[in-house]
């Protein structure tokens, strides 16, 4: 915290911040991490935040457990409070070097970054990718290996699949589990 306070004025981390694995924050954009966040080791990775433009903004709410998370931001990436993340990637642009994509098979609007917003108490499991324009509602869960691209996951829904299938209400899943047991 002290290093970022002295050397990187665009990075603001509020006390207390618990760090159990390496944290790397680079780039010209601004980063805000609220109080009581913790970085746990997850698949040997810590927290990596890379802002790719001076106007990029990453905002992480209170009480988040960030394990092995990689955030690459061109526009805005917002995590709510009490989010739980594992070794996953949040990238608000399709490609880090969009100028190099010369293929005509993609609409160049798709290369424009769109904000990624994650609601309070969301759980992002390991090996997920949350890409351009993803929106996770409060209390939602993204299952292992899912790939969210320009999709919205509503409140208290479970999303899985690569590409993402239709999110399922968690209340239905819990009801089925209780019926089986």
């Amino acid at each position: 915290m002290l290093y970022y306070r002295l050397a990187r004025p665009n990075v603001h981390i509020r006390f207390p911040f618990f760090v159990y694995q390496k944290v790397r924050i680079t780039g010209p954009g601004s980063v805000f991490i609220d109080r009581f966040c913790a970085v746990y080791p997850n698949l040997f990775e810590g927290l990596t935040i890379e802002t790719l433009t001076p106007t990029a903004k990453v905002s992480i709410g209170q009480n988040c457990a960030l394990g092995g998370l990689t955030i690459r931001c061109r526009d805005h990436v917002t995590l709510g409070e009490r989010c739980l993340t594992a070794n996953s990637l949040i990238q608000d642009c399709l490609f880090l070097h969009p100028g190099k994509v010369t293929s005509k098979s993609i609409d160049h609007l798709a290369l424009v970054p769109a904000p990624v917003k994650i609601g309070d108490n969301a759980w992002v499991a390991a090996q997920c990718c949350l890409l351009t324009g993803s929106r996770l509602g409060m209390d939602s869960v993204v299952a292992l290996g899912a790939n969210v691209y320009q999709d919205e996951v509503k409140e208290f829904h479970l999303a899985s699949g690569n590409p993402l299938g239709r999110p399922v209400p968690i209340s239905s899943v819990l009801r089925l589990t209780r019926l089986r047991s």
């Binding site: 790397r24 680079t26 990775e45 990596t48 890379e50 990689t70 690459r72 990637l89 990238q91 399709l94 490609f95 880090l96 070097h97 190099k100 994509v101 010369t102 293929s103 005509k104 098979s105 993609i106 798709a110 997920c128 990718c129 890409l131 290996g145 790939n147 691209y149 320009q150 690569n162 590409p163």
Partner: protein, 183 residues
């Protein structure tokens, strides 16, 4: 300034590779913004005006190009941009011109058999496992290109995709296994 240093680094690297023998051939204009790790007994050819970049957040933040047999051949075309790519070859990997590959893995072998002994797979051959990636292809972060895949020209592979089957020309592919995204 960074570009000048990258060009100088590229020239020094190309000369050092030339001293190492004929198994690594680098074209003019290579720009190294990070470490380029080339290992193995096979032949590696990199075209002209290629750029090698790093990105943090993956297992290794630099580019690794490994050959695993003397017969293996990795060919990368002109104007390629490689960002923390991991390329492993036992047979043949050909990558076209004007490509962008970000933080992806490309391997033309499974390394291990699914049988109990986990030895080298015996049924792999160059014709079955060689990888061919066309021109103007873009492959996103955390993707993987498996053996025997042929990716057509102008195809875009979204981040997080696993390419297990060949992809035609000019599509946008996403998923595991990667398939054309109808949006």
């Amino acid at each position: 300034m960074k570009r000048y240093i990258a060009c100088l680094r590229g020239k020094l690297f190309a000369q050092w590779c030339a001293l190492r023998g004929h198994r690594i051939r680098i074209g003019p204009g290579l720009q190294l913004y990070c470490k380029l790790d080339i290992r193995g007994p096979g032949l590696v050819e990199i075209g002209s005006n290629c750029q090698v970049h790093s990105i943090w957040g993956g297992s290794k933040p630099y580019v690794t190009i490994y050959t695993h047999s003397p017969e293996s051949h990795i060919f990368i075309g002109d104007n390629a941009m490689l960002v923390a790519v991991r390329i492993s070859s036992r047979f043949s990997i050909r990558i076209g011109n004007d490509i962008l590959i970000e933080e992806a893995g490309i391997s033309d072998t499974d390394f291990h058999s699914i049988d109990r002994d986990r030895s080298m797979p015996l049924d792999e051959t160059t014709s079955k496992c060689a990888i061919q990636i066309g021109n103007r292809v873009a492959i996103g972060a955390k993707s993987f290109v498996c053996k025997g895949v042929n990716i057509g020209d102008d195809t875009v592979v979204a981040p997080g995709s696993i390419v297990t089957r060949s992809l035609p020309t000019g599509i946008f592919a996403l998923g595991n296994p990667a398939r054309s995204l109808a949006k």
